[in-house]
């Protein structure tokens, strides 16, 4: 029996909501680190059985994947709390963020589908509240709708699984057939699969910076992690879907001029790598996917933190209006360098290792087209980060910004993450040893990896140099949401109108029937019938009776 790591964070969330801000944040950091320790020290194979809502359940089950993903999420929760403290987040926001992280950890360490669903929904709620707190307009509302639909699909899949197998405890994925289709569809919403990815880019660039930072790390990653649970085994379709996500995300990212929106598209693209790895489903594929997941959480959070610092200090996140930050904010610029190099897969930084593993696994699986897609995607990544680097940090400031420096807490948070990124880059075994699979097959520092990585980087840089001017002319690029959201509104309004229209019509017809009956009743009431009329009626009836009976 262990204390589930999620509990640390949930308790901390409750505490943070009421105690003074400083103490609360400290408690949050401690709790997150406590969760990290538990995640890393709990022996593999530990399970806790319990009864949930009357069903046999397994709220905690620790295996290799859970340990890695849970550990990195716990770490990032600690870093987020430090960053939030340094960025002016109020205690309520941090409390919700901790709850969100707690729910995510709960989902990661869940050993049965019921627990997973519970945590899944809690994540959605917490994230929704986070979004709402600092986003006007209907984006937060849409976020909730996307996740409710995704959650509903997952629930349907899980329930169907239970109906088919009679158990919620994890076994070999969700039962094949309809249950698996439903559950996969639900998970893919959270993963941000191409087509339903719009919620990511719709939501993540909008809220306050601390909220973006918190959001970017959890939902999609838990989605990928869950995908492994739902669809074990090779799935070429899924692998190619990952490749498509990658290419699409990267292309859209290159076209963006908004810092956080660009990063948001990169969530789509990076998740594409992981999905590809999950689809390949070899030891190397899984290992790569999980390692990439862990790395991505780290550097993507770092990137959002940087975007946040930039936004806070300059007041804008439009790349076209930034510049000269390399000199003005050296620590931030250094952190950006680490993160950008990591995401671009430059040797010595964490992304290099895990990306290489995924690419190799695809190669080993013989999916040549996908392999090329991954390489091209890598080039795109380089281009987009070169773009950020150029516009925000390298070129001279033309707008007279006078940014201050990042706060100590911000620097601590960013520095801590950057250190881990570099650490995993230089000593990949730190990460890979924790993973149950892929370690043996990974050719981490093989020469071919260096060639590929450096080749990609070179191509990318050249491409950016060529494309910089043409790209300037492109402004807003429509995404699928420009179709979905108006269509959704029209659908909703027309359904509501139709339904209430039916009700109105029914009501009217009922009323008019009532009026008709009432009118009918008013005949022959005004004054009492005279004697003559009474007797006449009587006579007529008598005549009728006689005729009727005697005929």
């Amino acid at each position: 029996m262990i204390v589930p790591p999620a509990v640390f964070l949930l308790v901390a969330a409750a505490v943070t909501a009421v105690v003074p801000r400083r103490i609360g944040h400290a408690a949050g950091v401690l709790a997150a680190l406590g969760a990290l320790v538990v995640a890393l020290t709990t022996p593999l194979g530990t399970v806790t059985d319990a009864t949930l809502f009357g069903f046999p359940a397994r709220p905690v089950a620790v295996d290799g994947f859970a340990r890695v993903v849970g550990g990195v999420l716990a770490f990032i929760a600690a870093a987020n709390t430090v960053y939030a403290y340094g960025s002016g987040a109020d205690r309520q926001e941090t409390a919700i963020a901790l709850a969100y992280a707690g729910a995510s950890l709960g989902a990661v360490f869940a050993g049965d589908w019921l627990t997973l669903v519970v945590c899944w929904e809690l994540m959605a709620v917490a994230a929704t509240v986070l979004v709402w707190r600092s986003t006007a307009g209907r984006a937060g509302y849409r976020y909730a709708v996307y996740h409710q639909i995704g959650g509903a699909l997952l629930i349907a899949g899980v329930v169907a699984h239970y109906a088919a197998t009679g158990s919620f405890v994890y076994a070999a994925g969700i039962a094949t057939g309809l249950p698996r289709v439903l559950a996969t569809a639900g998970v893919l919403v959270n993963v941000g699969m191409l087509g339903v990815h719009v919620w990511i880019v719709d939501t993540y660039p909008r809220p306050s910076v601390t909220t973006s930072v918190v959001l970017c790390g959890f939902t999609t990653k838990v989605g990928v992690y869950t995908l492994v649970r739902v669809v074990p085994g090779r799935n070429v379709l899924l692998a190619y879907a990952g490749g498509t996500m990658l290419l699409f995300g990267v292309t859209m990212a290159i076209l963006q001029t908004d810092f956080r929106r660009l990063l948001s598209y990169h969530i789509v693209s990076q998740v594409g790598y992981m999905v590809a790895g999950v689809g390949v489903a070899s030891g190397l594929g899984y290992g790569g996917a999980m390692a990439h997941l862990a790395n991505n959480v780290l550097y993507k959070t770092l990137l959002f933190m940087i975007a946040g610092v930039v936004l806070i200090e300059t007041g804008t996140e439009n790349l076209k209006r930034l510049g000269g930050l390399g000199r003005a904010m050296p620590a931030t610029a250094a952190a950006f360098a680490v993160a950008a190099l990591a995401i671009s897969g430059i040797p010595g930084f964490s992304g290099f290792v895990s990306k290489g593993m995924v690419v190799d696994s695809v190669d080993a699986a013989g999916l040549d087209a996908l392999w090329w897609m991954l390489l091209v995607g890598g080039v795109g990544t380089v281009i987009s980060f070169a773009k950020i680097a150029y516009y925000a940090f390298v070129r001279a400031d033309q707008y007279g910004h006078d940014p201050g420096r990042a706060t100590p807490a911000q620097i601590t948070a960013m520095g801590g993450i950057a250190a881990v990124v570099v650490g995993f880059g230089l000593f990949p075994d730190l990460l890979l040893d924790l993973l149950p699979a892929g370690r043996d097959a990974a050719k981490v520092f093989a020469a071919s990896q260096f060639e590929k990585a450096l080749g990609i980087a070179a191509v990318g840089l050249v491409a950016f140099a060529v494309l910089r001017r043409p790209l300037k002319r492109i402004t807003a690029v429509p995404d699928l949401d420009s179709v979905y959201h108006p269509a959704g509104a029209v659908l909703r309004d027309s359904v509501v109108r139709a339904a209430t229209g039916v009700a109105d019509t029914l009501g009217r017809s009922r009323r008019s029937t009532g009026v008709a009956i009432y009118r009918a009743a008013s005949v022959d009431v005004g004054r009492p019938a005279s004697i003559g009329r009474s007797v006449l009626l009587l006579t007529l009836v008598a005549a009728l009776v006689v005729v009727f009976l005697l005929s």
Binding site: R527, S530, I531, G532, R533, V535, L536, T539
Partner: protein, 116 residues
């Protein structure tokens, strides 16, 4: 045909009585109509009791007798009818005292007026 004549007469009396009841606004005539109507029914009964060549049911005489039972019944019915007529006339007196008229439509109009 001839023996059916009393039946037809009975039907005719009933019809006349009903017609007066229905058609005449004068309340006294309505009461008269009622009497005619009842008389028709009495006639029907008595006719039913008649018997070809029958005589009054006097045990001292020889038969065949007319059926005595309907006659007894009609005697009772006539008494009832007279009582009804008496009550009706009493009511008419009261109506006349109250409204000064015995036409139903006039009385009704007066009642309506009194209500408003």
């Amino acid at each position: 045909m001839l023996e059916r004549l009393p039946y037809l007469a009975a039907i005719a009396l009933v019809g006349i009585g009903l017609a007066v009841l229905v058609d005449d606004e004068h309340l006294v005539k309505k009461v008269l109509g009622l009497n005619v109507f009842q008389t028709g029914i009495f006639l029907f009964f008595v006719t039913a009791a008649a018997r070809e060549g029958g005589s009054a049911p006097n045990v001292a005489k020889a038969g065949p007798y007319a059926n005595p039972l309907p006659q007894v019944l009609i005697l009772t019915a006539i008494v009832v009818g007279v009582s009804v007529t008496a009550v009706a006339l009493a009511l008419l007196v009261r109506i006349h005292a109250e409204y000064g008229t015995l036409r139903e439509d006039a009385v009704r109009a007066a009642i309506e007026e009194g209500r408003e």
